[in-house]
């Protein structure tokens, strides 16, 4: 346990590090019981507990009936067949799907360039101003979402009340909340890259813009791409900010619909369908993110696991 802690920190990429593995093999006397079957069984139980409920929930979104516990045959009823209560035909559910996609696209398009530029600038600019705002950026990354959401709610209902609660407020809040992903991921990448590529380019006569466009941005492409994936999927799953900043059915995304319809009563299988659509969206983003990251980092050292943990925000 100390061995794991000392050698590996923080990231599951480090969980994947082979160091601990060889150590166990080299010193078998440290584990006199052989393979820890009890621990393995426990881990499988944990995984079952963590994932089987989701599988059941997805399964029952295809149930041809209202029950969540008695299978009545397969149907697309709750997705589009039912003329009233399906996700496709219920205007509120339909609007929620569109709103989630809209918020994800808008937030990603604004937050990623903003965060990447911030990371590049703050990495080179020395002084109290960049140091302060670098701290503010990290603070925005660790602050509990409710406290941030409350501040957004108050600023849009008092000081900036010209921005009414609704899509604009949601996008402004989500960008502020998510801009730390590109800012932090790109800064981490800049630190690993070091200054030598840029210095070489500058020695060969490239000016600032050329260094940025021809050298830095291509080298940062995997990090920028990974942060875009993180922001996009983060917005799909976001709840607190959009809950506090949405104002009507037209600007309420899927997560808030599931929450507000469910509590206090059974929302029925259409909600399971809505949740399954969210899940499918996230999975599509993960697959795109994984394949894209692997393509962008071709020729670099690193495994599929590194790609996976990076786009999960743990790399």
């Amino acid at each position: 346990m100390t061995a794991t802690n000392a050698s590996a920190p923080e990231t599951p990429a480090a969980v994947a590090a082979p160091a601990t593995d060889t150590r166990t093999r080299r010193r078998p006397w440290r584990n006199p019981w052989g393979h820890p079957w009890f621990l393995e069984g426990f881990t499988w139980l944990y995984l079952a507990w963590s994932l089987v409920p989701i599988v059941i929930a997805v399964l029952f979104s295809f149930n041809n009936g209202r029950s969540q516990s008695a299978w009545q045959g397969f149907s697309w009823r709750w997705y589009f067949s039912d003329p009233v209560n399906s996700v496709w035909h219920n205007p509120q559910l339909h609007a929620a799907v569109i709103q989630t996609v809209r918020l994800s696209v808008l937030t990603t398009v604004i937050a990623v360039p903003l965060g990447v530029a911030f990371a590049l600038g703050i990495n080179r600019w020395r002084g109290p101003v960049p140091a302060t705002f670098n701290f503010v950026m990290i603070l925005s990354y660790v602050i509990p979402e409710l406290i941030f959401g409350v501040s957004m709610f108050f600023v849009f209902t008092t000081l900036f009340s010209t921005v009414h609660l609704g899509t604009t407020a949601e996008v402004l809040g989500l960008v502020t909340w998510n801009v730390s992903w590109p800012a932090i991921v790109v800064q981490a990448r800049l630190v690993t890259l070091g200054p030598q590529y840029e210095e070489a380019a500058a020695d060969l006569g490239a000016n600032q813009f050329q260094v940025l466009r021809r050298v830095l941005l291509p080298l940062l492409a995997p990090a920028i791409f990974a942060s875009a994936v993180l922001v996009f999927s983060g917005v799909i799953d976001d709840f607190v900010i959009v809950d506090l900043l949405s104002s009507s059915a037209g600007n309420t995304p899927m997560s808030v619909i599931i929450y507000s319809t469910q509590h206090g009563g059974n929302g029925g299988p259409a909600l399971n369908a809505l949740g399954s659509i969210m899940l499918a969206m996230s999975l599509i983003i993960v697959v795109i993110g994984y394949i894209g990251y692997r393509l962008l980092t071709r020729g670099e050292r690193g495994s599929g696991l590194t790609a996976l943990t990076t786009i999960a925000g743990e790399g």
Partner: protein, 258 residues
């Protein structure tokens, strides 16, 4: 030359800095100004006082009385929050640590598979994960069915059951702890969001008898006459969490630098 170089990087950082200033720093000042502000008696709307010289402590005193006074209605909520979060974090640790330990040390060639399965909950919407348990825990759900097979009569899990709320918090936040290998930072990454959680509680219980500090704050937003108190509470929560937050930042930076 040196100067022009500097201007270039300043220009790159500027949009992000301005954005954070207007939409992160100013909003917090707004909350502070409302917390230290006055109440418009006629509309029961909070009046922000922007000048610190004329700040009033009446809202803070009201909240303090609610929390610690002799007839404090918020006192039990505070105690409940601490108990729930402490229990849930402890359970997260007891359940999560063995699993993380196994995958880190003994998973061998199947490490990839285990990691994918451990990370999977991150990609599943929190609300979907809660919805799944609402289905299972409902009166006719699989949990009560399973209890029925061993002769136990159905339990009312939803609608005010403390155990369900703690269970929901564990289920909701344990993936974060599992992926963080250092115990203290792992605990922080579960404790910080749990203290601001109102949705887990609201979805799995919704009863006043289980409400936490997050529910209190969320309920005060948009409620005439109480908004300023919501502002005070969220500022107090921030104040309490500031030290753990800064510790978390320093600890993760130290780990990353290694």
């Amino acid at each position: 030359m040196r100067k022009r170089k500097n201007v270039f990087w300043v220009a790159l950082a500027a949009p992000g800095i301005i954005w954070l200033a207007i939409l992160f720093v100013v909003p917090f000042y707004a909350v502070l100004s409302i917390a230290m502000g006055k109440l418009n008696q006629l509309y029961e709307a909070p009046v922000a006082v922007w000048n610190p010289v004329s700040w009033s402590s009446s809202n803070v005193i009201n909240v303090w009385r609610d929390l610690f006074g002799s007839v404090s209605f918020a006192g039990p909520i505070l105690v409940r929050t601490i108990v729930y979060v402490a229990l849930a974090s402890l359970l997260c640790l007891v359940i999560g640590y063995p699993a993380a330990y196994f995958v880190a040390r003994f998973a061998g060639r199947r490490k990839g598979l285990f990691l994918v399965l451990l990370i999977a909950p991150f990609w599943i919407s929190y609300m979907m994960r809660m919805l799944a348990w609402i289905d299972l825990l409902s009166t006719g759900g699989y949990v009560n069915k399973a209890l029925g097979w061993v002769g136990i009569s159905p339990v009312n899990w939803l609608g005010g059951n403390s155990a369900t709320v703690v269970f929901g918090l564990v289920y909701g936040y344990i993936p974060y702890l599992i992926l963080v290998q250092v115990i203290l930072t792992g605990l922080l990454i579960t404790v910080l969001p749990m203290l601001g959680d109102y949705y887990t509680n609201q979805m799995l219980s919704g009863a006043a008898s289980t409400s936490m500090i997050g529910n209190l704050i969320q309920g005060q937003l948009g409620t005439p006459g109480l908004e300023a108190q919501g502002a005070v509470l969220s500022m107090l929560l921030l104040l309490v969490l500031l030290i753990p937050m800064i510790y978390y930042v320093i600890a993760t930076n130290r780990e990353a630098a290694r």
